[in-house]
C-alpha cells in the first residue's frame, strides 16, 4: 500500500496543493491575487521535481492495475508540467492586462494538469475516463471564464456540448469493449483480443467509438468542428493552454488505447487513423489559408499538425541505433508542437494590450520595423511550425516521415510533404506581414520583463532543439521502449 501511495505521490501533492489553493484564494484580497499565481507555479514546480525524482525505470502497477507507472507516463507528466509552467507565465500577464486575473484560472489549470497526469498513467478504461473528464470539465470552465465576452460563452457552450458528446461516445465504446471482454483492465483486454479473434467484428465496433472519441479530443477531421470556434472565442491564455498540454495527454491516452489495449487490432485502427490523418492535414492546411484571424489560423494549423501526429502513431515500430523507436516519433512531435504552439499563442498575448486582442493578422503588419527582436522570435515560431530547418519543427516532421517510410508507407509520406508545402504558405504570410509590410500604427509592444524573457527563451529553445535535437530524440526513444 505504501509503495502504491508513493507511486502516486506527485498526483497526491498536486491535488492537495490545488485544493489548498482553492481555499486560500477565497480568503485573499483581489489586489494580492498574484500570490495565487505564485503558489500555483510552486505547486507545478514541486510536482515536476517529484516526477523527475521518482522517474520510473520499469513498468509498475498500483491499485489493482488501474494505475500504471512506466517511463512513458513519467516523461509525459514531466513534459506536461514544464509546458504548463510556461503557460502560467504567459497567462498571468494576459489575465492581469485584461482584468480577469482570478484564482480560478490557476486552480482549474492545476486540476486539469492532474487530469492529464491520470490519463498518462491510466491502466484501465475507467481511469482513462476519469482523467479525461477531470481535464475536460476544467477546460470547459476555463473557456467560459471571461463571462462578459459573448464569443467566449459561445465557445464554451460549443465546447461543452461537443465534448460531452465525445465523452458519451467514449463511454459507449468502453461499455461495448467491457461487455465483450468482461474487463476494464487494458492489459487483460489485450490478452482477450489475442485469444478471442472470433469476436473481432464486435471488438472493432467498440474500437470505432473509442477512436472517434480520441479524434474528437485531439481535433482530427471530421471531428474538428469545435477547434476553430473554441480557439478563437476563448481568452488567448486558455487557447494557449488547450492547444498544448492537453494534446500531450491526448497522445498518452491514444497510446494507452492503441498499444496497451488494442495492439492486436493494429491493422484496424491504423486504417482508420490513416484516413483521419490525411483528412486533417488536407483540411487544416487548406482552410488555414483563408483565415484572417491569427487565432483561427493557428487553430486550423493545429488540425493539420494533429494529422501529422496521427501519422506518427500510425507508423509502427522500427529499429534505430539506440533501439526500437516505438511511438517515439509521435511523442517527439507532440512535445515540440506544444512548445511551438505556446510560443505562437504566447506571441498573440505579447502583442495584445488592454481592451485589444491582437488576433487579427493585420495587427502584425510591419512588426519588424517596430520590434526587430520580437519579429525575429515570431519568425522562428512560424518557420518552425512550417517545418523548415534549422528549427525543431523540421525534426519533428522528419522523425515522423522517417518512421512512415520505415513502415513501408512511402506514398503516405509523399502526401504528408505535399500538404506541408501548402501549409508553409500561411506561415510565410505571417512573416510577410511582419517583415515586408509597412506598420499600420507605431504602437510598440508593451510587455513585462518576464514576458519578454519567457518568449525569448521559448524561441531560443526552438532554435537550440533544432540545432541539436539528438538528446530529446534519444530520450523519447528511451521512454517509448514498450
Amino acid at each position: 500500500m505504501l509503495i502504491e501511495l508513493q507511486m502516486i505521490l506527485p498526483e497526491i501533492v498536486l491535488m492537495s496543493m490545488a485544493c489548498a489553493l482553492l481555499v486560500f484564494d477565497a480568503f485573499i484580497p483581489s489586489e494580492r491575487r498574484h500570490l495565487t499565481y505564485l503558489l500555483a507555479q510552486l505547486a507545478l514546480l514541486v510536482t515536476a521535481v517529484l516526477v523527475v525524482a521518482s522517474f520510473p525505470q520499469i513498468t509498475e502497477y498500483a491499485f489493482n492495475r488501474t494505475f500504471v507507472d512506466d517511463p512513458m507516463s513519467g516523461a509525459v507528466k514531466a513534459f506536461i508540467l514544464v509546458i504548463t509552467l510556461f503557460i502560467f507565465f504567459y497567462s498571468h500577464d494576459y489575465l492581469k492586462e485584461h482584468g480577469i486575473l482570478k484564482g480560478e484560472y490557476f486552480v482549474l489549470g492545476l486540476f486539469a494538469v492532474l487530469g492529464m497526469m491520470i490519463m498518462a498513467s491510466a491502466g484501465s478504461l475507467l481511469t482513462i475516463y476519469l482523467g479525461l473528464e477531470l481535464l475536460s470539465l476544467c477546460l470547459y470552465a476555463m473557456v467560459a471564464m471571461h463571462r462578459d465576452s459573448p464569443p467566449a460563452s459561445e465557445a464554451a457552450m460549443k465546447y461543452f456540448v461537443l465534448g460531452a458528446l465525445a465523452s458519451g461516445l467514449l463511454l459507449y465504446g468502453i461499455s461495448i469493449i467491457y461487455g465483450i471482454s468482461g474487463t476494464l483492465d487494458l492489459q487483460e483486454i489485450n490478452n482477450y483480443i489475442l485469444y478471442n479473434s472470433e469476436r473481432l467484428p464486435m471488438l472493432v465496433y467498440g474500437l470505432v467509438f473509442i477512436i472517434v472519441a480520441i479524434a474528437f479530443k485531439l481535433g482530427a477531421v471530421p471531428f474538428h468542428m469545435w477547434i476553430p470556434d473554441v480557439y478563437q472565442g476563448a481568452p488567448t491564455s486558455v487557447t494557449l493552454f488547450i492547444s498544448s498540454a492537453p494534446k500531450i495527454a491526448a497522445f498518452a491516452m491514444t497510446i494507452r488505447f492503441v498499444n496497451d489495449a488494442f495492439m492486436h487490432l493494429t491493422p484496424e485502427w491504423q486504417g482508420i487513423l490513416i484516413i483521419l490523418s490525411i483528412l486533417s492535414m488536407a483540411m487544416g492546411n487548406i482552410i488555414a489559408i483563408a483565415q484572417s484571424n491569427i487565432k483561427r489560423m493557428l487553430a486550423y494549423s493545429t488540425i493539420a499538425h494533429i494529422g501529422f501526429l496521427l501519422l506518427g502513431i500510425i507508423s509502427s515500430q522500427s529499429v534505430s541505433a539506440t533501439g526500437v523507436t516505438g511511438f517515439a516519433d509521435a511523442l517527439f512531435y507532440v512535445v515540440t508542437y506544444a512548445l511551438m504552439s505556446i510560443g505562437a499563442f504566447g506571441f498573440v498575448i505579447l502583442m495584445g494590450r488592454k481592451g485589444h486582442e491582437a488576433d487579427e493578422l493585420d495587427d502584425y503588419k510591419g512588426l519588424a520595423d517596430k520590434n526587430p527582436w520580437f519579429a525575429l522570435i515570431m519568425l522562428i515560431f512560424m518557420f518552425s511550425l512550417a517545418g523548415v530547418p534549422p528549427f525543431v519543427g523540421f525534426w519533428a516532421k522528419w522523425f515522423v516521415l522517417k518512421e512512415i517510410v520505415a513502415t513501408g508507407l512511402a506514398p503516405l509520406a509523399v502526401i504528408a510533404v505535399v500538404f506541408s508545402i501548402i501549409g508553409a504558405y500561411y506561415y510565410l504570410r505571417v512573416v510577410k506581414l511582419m517583415y515586408f509590410d509597412k506598420p499600420v500604427s507605431m504602437t510598440a509592444i508593451k510587455a513585462t520583463q518576464t514576458m519578454r524573457a519567457v518568449i525569448s527563451l521559448n524561441g531560443l529553445a526552438i532554435l537550440l532543439l533544432g540545432v541539436s535535437p539528438g538528446l530529446l530524440m534519444t530520450f523519447c526513444i528511451e521512454v517509448m521502449k514498450l
Binding site: V388, P389, F394, L401, A410, V431, G470
Partner: protein
C-alpha cells in the same frame, strides 16, 4: 595535408556567427555594420583561399574530413569534407559574397545590418551545403538557406517582391521535400545517411528512376531547368541587386552541384537511362529560353532568362556524357562534357553576377530597368560602358573570355553524342550574342535619349573596383582556365568511372 584548424567548420560558422554579430550591431550604426561584414566576408574568403593552398590536387577523394556524431540515435553525423567540385563552388561563393558586400556598401540604406547579416548567414549556409557529406546535414543547410534569401527578396526587393519571394520559397521547398523522402528511403535501403556510403549502395533500376526523379525535382528547380524555371525571372527582377547576384552566381549552382553529388553517383543507371530526356530538357532551356530572352523589355529579366539558357549547358554537359559513353565509349570526350559543365557554372557565376551588378549600377542612378528608358549611356558613362561591353561579350561566349571555355567544351563533346545536339546547342552562340548585344546596343549606344541619361555620372571607385575584379576574373579564366581544371580533374575522372560502373546488377 590536414593540420590543426577545422577549416571547413570555420568556413561554415565564421559567416553564420559573423552574421549574427552584425545583426546585433544594430541598424543604428550602419557604418559599423558595414565594416564588420566586410571584415567577416574577407576573413571567410581568406579561409577559403587557405583551403585552396592546402588542397591536394592529385587526390580525387574527400579531403579535410571532419566527422563528429550529431544525432547518435540515427547515426546522423556532422560529416564534412570537400573534393575538387566542392572546392570550386566554395571559392566562387566566398569570392562573390565578398564582392556583394562591397557592391552594396552605400546602395542599401534601410536596415543595413539586417541586410549584411542575411548575406553572411546565406554564405555560411551555402558553404554548408557544399561541404556536407551527410545527407541530413546537407538537407538542413539546403532548406535553411531559403530563409535568408526569402527575407532578402521580400524586404529589400522591388514592387512585386512579395509575390516573387513567396513563389521562390514555395517552388524550392516543393522540390526539396521530395528529395527528403528519397533520402529517407535510401536510409532504409542502406542504413546510412552518409553520402559516400550511398555511392556503393546497389539499387534496382525502377528504384533508381524514382529516386532520380525525386532528386531531379529538387535540383531542377534550383538550376533551374525548363519547365520549372518560372520562379527565377520573378525572383531576379524583384530582388535587390546583391540578391540577384548571389542568386544567379551561387544559388543556381546548388542545383548543378546536387546533380553531381547525388544524382549521377547514387543513381547512375537511372541517369544513363534518362540521359536523353535530360538532354532534351536542357536543349529546350538553351534554345527556347534563348528566344524568350530576346523579347524581354526589362534588363534584369533578360539576364535572368539568359541565366536559364546558360545553365542549360551545364545539364547538357553532365548528361551528354552518358550518351557519349554509350555511342563511342570515348572517355576523354565525356569527361570533357562534365568539366565543360562545371566550367560553365563557374564562369556563369562571374558573368551573370557582373551583368546584374551592371544593371544595378544603372538602376541606382535612374531607378528603371526598362531597356526603353535608356539609350546613349556611353556618352555619359564611358568607363562603365567599356566594362559592360566585356561582360556582354563574355555572356555571348566570345573566345578569350571565360564564357567561351565552358560552352565550347560542352559543344565539342556533345558532337560525339550527336551532331544534332551540338548544332542545337551552338544556336545559343548566335542567340546569346543576339539578345545580349542587342540589349547592349539599345541601352549603351546611340544618341542620348533623355535628360536623365544626359545627367548620369560615371561609376565611382567602389563600383570600378567590383566590376574591375570581375573583369579580371572573366579574362583570366578565359585565357588561362587551367587552374580550374586542375582542381576538378581528378575528382571528375573518378566520378566518371563511378558513373559507368552502374549498380542495378
Amino acid at each position: 595535408m590536414n593540420t590543426g584548424l577545422p577549416l571547413l567548420s570555420l568556413l561554415v560558422w565564421t559567416p553564420v556567427l559573423g552574421g549574427v554579430w552584425v545583426l546585433f550591431a544594430g541598424d543604428r550604426q550602419a557604418g559599423t555594420a558595414r565594416y564588420l561584414s566586410l571584415f567577416v566576408a574577407t576573413l571567410t574568403f581568406i579561409i577559403s583561399a587557405l583551403l585552396y593552398l592546402r588542397f591536394d590536387l592529385q587526390n580525387p577523394g574527400m579531403q579535410f574530413i571532419e566527422l563528429r556524431s550529431w544525432i547518435s540515435a540515427f547515426n546522423i553525423n556532422y560529416h564534412l569534407g570537400i573534393d575538387g567540385i566542392s572546392l570550386l563552388m566554395i571559392l566562387l561563393n566566398t569570392f562573390i559574397t565578398l564582392l556583394v558586400v562591397i557592391a552594396s556598401w552605400d546602395v542599401i540604406e534601410v536596415k543595413v545590418s539586417q541586410f549584411m547579416a542575411a548575406f553572411l548567414i546565406l554564405e555560411g549556409l551555402m558553404n554548408g551545403v557544399f561541404v556536407s557529406l551527410d545527407t541530413i546535414l546537407f538537407y538542413v543547410f539546403w532548406e535553411a538557406l531559403l530563409i535568408p534569401m526569402f527575407l532578402i527578396i521580400g524586404i529589400w526587393g522591388g514592387p512585386r517582391r512579395v509575390y516573387a519571394t513567396i513563389k521562390f520559397f514555395l517552388y524550392t521547398f516543393l522540390g526539396s521535400v521530395f528529395m527528403l523522402v528519397a533520402l529517407l528511403y535510401l536510409y532504409f535501403q542502406s542504413g546510412t545517411f552518409s553520402i559516400l556510403e550511398l555511392y556503393d549502395l546497389p539499387l534496382g533500376l525502377t528504384e533508381q528512376v524514382l529516386i532520380f526523379i525525386a532528386f531531379l525535382l529538387a535540383f531542377a528547380v534550383k538550376v533551374p531547368m525548363w519547365p520549372v524555371h518560372t520562379w527565377l525571372p520573378d525572383a531576379h527582377v524583384e530582388a535587390p541587386t546583391a540578391g540577384s547576384v548571389v542568386l544567379a552566381a551561387v544559388m543556381l549552382k546548388l542545383g548543378g552541384y546536387g546533380l553531381l553529388r547525388f544524382s549521377l553517383p547514387i543513381t547512375p543507371d537511372a541517369s544513363a537511362a534518362l540521359a536523353e530526356f535530360m538532354i532534351v530538357l536542357s536543349l529546350i532551356a538553351v534554345v527556347y529560353i534563348g528566344f524568350v530572352a530576346l523579347v524581354q523589355m526589362d534588363m534584369k529579366k533578360l539576364i535572368a532568362y539568359s541565366s536559364i539558357s546558360h545553365m542549360g549547358f551545364v545539364t547538357l554537359g553532365l548528361f551528354a556524357a552518358f550518351v557519349i559513353n554509350e555511342k563511342t565509349a570515348n572517355a576523354g570526350a565525356a569527361i570533357m562534357g562534365i568539366e565543360g559543365g562545371m566550367m560553365q557554372m563557374i564562369s556563369h557565376g562571374f558573368i551573370s553576377g557582373a551583368l546584374f551588378l551592371c544593371v544595378g549600377v544603372m538602376y541606382d542612378r535612374m531607378h528603371s530597368r526598362q531597356i526603353s528608358d535608356y539609350g546613349g549611356v556611353v556618352n555619359t558613362m564611358p568607363v562603365f560602358a567599356a566594362l559592360m561591353m566585356l561582360f556582354a561579350l563574355a555572356n555571348s561566349g566570345l573566345p578569350g573570355t571565360s564564357g567561351f571555355v565552358g560552352e565550347f567544351l560542352v559543344i565539342i563533346s556533345s558532337f560525339q553524342a550527336s551532331p544534332w545536339i551540338a548544332i542545337c546547342a551552338a544556336i545559343t552562340l548566335i542567340l546569346g550574342a543576339a539578345y545580349t548585344l542587342w540589349m547592349y546596343k539599345r541601352v549603351i549606344f546611340g544618341p542620348v535619349t533623355n535628360d536623365e541619361v544626359a545627367e548620369l555620372k560615371d561609376i565611382n571607385g567602389r563600383e570600378k573596383l567590383v566590376l574591375g575584379i570581375l573583369a579580371i576574373a572573366v579574362l583570366l579564366f578565359g585565357i588561362w582556365p587551367a587552374p580550374i581544371f586542375e582542381i576538378m580533374h581528378a575528382t571528375i575522372e573518378q566520378l566518371y568511372t563511378h558513373m559507368l560502373t552502374g549498380k542495378a546488377g
